[in-house]
Symmetry: C3
Subunit: 329 residues, 3 copies
């Protein structure tokens, strides 16, 4: 891609030559077709000394000698670098087609621009959208709908009853739409009988799902992952959960059934949410905290911590009090 | 299935017409062949207004006008609904057979009523019982024995040395019988050497295992999952663990080596059990609690919480005391 | 293998007959070709009464009548048993070759002594070293380098940009080199954009990785797992993490981005490490403890516990203080 075209797309001013670039990189791995970025003046020397063709730099940064590099000037260089990566990836997308070792049911609809890789299995009634990639070893259940420009990297399982929007990325080993954990005890025998887990899983646009993460479908209704949600690795999302727009959840967090995370919630790693919890828009849950069942936590930008989760300040005051008392004794 | 036959099987009285039904459903997705259920009078209107053919209702509920629905009357409607789902599923089971893309070793024994789906691999000496399903991408190791009516949904790995009873359901991505985590340090070098992990994993009847859950086989002896156990997603069970009958364990809980959970224990999510722990019959472990190694906890119906786990009441009293002291200061 | 040869290799004195052995075992499963071990005199009777051909016993243990067993005498019998297992396994390694159902790109280099099993997929540019095994359903990305004597048991995913040393064991379902969790918020829209995750994952020699564990590659640089590291099941290692030599990490622990564990650190289960943490050489992190971001913990042999992690003694004193105060009130 011409640098000038890339600059336009990422909203940067390009004061360099009209060169071709094809990837973003770190300083150590940059080639003559690479774009690198500088977030802070202390990194400038590294950027100008590396092999890259072009450097994304802050608007305000004074550069006496660019050492022959083209410069892309913008306000938010980290964001511009991320956008550049997306643009260049799109430009190098691989051709569509079904690998001969893949097993695609004759009742599935795979767009001709979609790519089904080695040893993937796609069941009847599934629909794979424009330019989406179904990586090696993926298993796509009956009637699953996958939108455009999705990337299921490898060995992803998608159960029947699941729909994905556009531009959804799913890392290897994730399981989408599995049976929720619902059982009915029989008081006469002490045995548990499986409650039907026959609902749906609806995943919006621009969602990313981490490796070996599991998301259950609804019992009778739907589990919903709204647009822009980012889930890290080994996250568990139970049945009938609603995860709002642009919610970010770090690794190994678990969310029990019927819990609601409103838009823009941020959840750190290893957090546990009981069932029927509601986390208000924009709240922040600190690492390893625990929210008991049926609890409602609200507060745009408020950080909650500890188990049971409470405002961080309160938690820290309690920790300090306890430490003081233990020393005294 | 005739409604009258279903009613018999689930122990309900059927006062409706002799119609055919083939699935259970929620109100929104019910069809003219569906059975729905009502647990509380406030849901009755929804049930009678939906498309379902039949409604499971409490014995005692007075219904002036059933709106043309057949009624199935029983004491425990939630349980009846669960049982109805199981009955109708059994009736619609798919035919046996091995998908041409599956790789079944000539030394494996697959019952002719069993179903081996696309791209599954079954090694020599494995035995797959009546009507069991080995879903797409599953890997079944040498000599593994799988009983009747099991369902390994997709991409399940079963190591050599593992046996499953009847009616075991395994969600996608689970790993059964993997090597336990046992190493012997060499004091001379600081290196760890793998201690043999050559025992067995024995899984009973009516067990359900969640997505991406991992259960290690014994080091020299066996890990045992008794009849009726239900494990949620991303649970870890270490080597030589014994999980007693009808134990229920929620997501992301981890159980270290040689720990024993007696019958009917209930374990919430993200609980951690050290090694050589014993949890007495019927005890309840609250979410995120931690039980140190070698500890014994007993108490039918007693709830334990916190780390180290102690009776819930004690935990709550301590939390209240600390909060009070911190406010005072 | 002749017993005398095995004895030499594991550093034991062999005072028994010149018999053939081919496996290690527990007492219950031993055969006439098995080696068992005794760590404590109380186990001697069991060992001498079982079917094994040979028993590894402590140097100092007096044995009046060996009941016809050959004895292997050594100081550290547990270590010798572990080494014996490794030796006997090596002797029985299976022949190399590619299963006809595997999909190996013509641009991949698989050593003729390596073994690629059913339904594995190996992409262009990948290199599989001497005697390594790629188990059923594994997916090996472009340009991945796997050394000698590795064992990827089943359904392991290895992303492009990953290298494995020699003698690396990877249990089923692990994901190596997945995209890290890095996003750049766009303040104008509230959306998160994917920061490039294009670095490497470098895994050393003699590493073991547990089932369904996930290790992300670096964002721009590398994630490094040094020689001799042992990771249990369902562990999460974030991007740009450095795990030092002979570090041991138990199940369900999570390590956030750019954190460093120096050599010989021991981490128990369900521990959480924030980003940019440094754990000094030889420190020990107790189960479920949490280390906040940017924290440095040092202390060879010191045990840390709790959240935020602090020396175990301090933690216990605080717990005792709180319990006392709560009782008083």
């Amino acid at each position: 891609m011409k640098l000038i075209k890339l600059a336009e797309r990422i909203g940067a001013r390009c004061d360099g030559a009209e060169i071709e670039v094809n990837n973003v990189a770190g300083f150590a791995t940059a080639t003559a077709q690479s774009v690198v970025f500088v977030e802070h003046p202390r990194f400038l020397e590294g950027a100008l000394g590396c092999a890259a063709a072009a450097v994304i730099v802050p608007d305000s940064l004074e550069i006496a000698n660019a050492n022959g590099k083209s410069l892309l000037r913008t306000k938010n260089t980290r964001l511009a670098f991320a956008l550049a990566d997306a643009e260049l990836r799109r430009a190098e997308a691989r051709p569509g087609g079904v690998h001969p070792s893949a097993v695609v049911d004759s009742g599935a609809e795979v767009d001709s621009s979609a790519r089904v890789e080695a040893l993937a299995a796609i069941a009847a009634g599934a629909r794979i959208g424009l330019r989406s990639r179904i990586g090696p070893g993926c298993v796509i259940g009956e009637g699953v709908v996958i939108g455009a420009d999705c990337d299921l990297v490898a060995r992803v399982s998608v159960y029947s009853g699941t729909t994905l929007g556009d531009r959804v990325i799913v890392q290897a080993g994730a399981v989408l739409g599995g049976d929720g954990f619902g059982f009915v005890p029989d008081p006469a025998t002490g045995k548990y009988h499986k409650f039907p887990q026959i609902g749906r899983l609806e995943i919006g646009n621009d969602v990313e799902i981490g490796a070996n993460t599991t998301i259950d479908r609804g019992a009778l209704d739907a589990t919903v992952i709204a647009d822009g949600v980012k889930l890290d690795n080994l996250v568990q999302v139970g049945h009938n959960v609603y995860v709002g727009k642009n919610v970010v959840i770090a690794a190994q967090t678990g969310i029990s059934g019927s819990t609601v995370l409103e838009d823009n919630v941020i959840v750190a790693g290893q957090v546990g949410l009981g069932d029927h919890v509601r986390i208000g828009s924009g709240a922040i849950l600190g690492a390893q905290c625990g929210v008991p069942s049926n609890k409602v936590l609200r507060g745009e930008g408020v950080v909650f911590w500890g188990t049971p989760a409470r405002p961080l300040k309160e938690c820290l005051r309690e920790l300090a009090t306890l430490a003081r008392l233990a020393r005294k004794k």
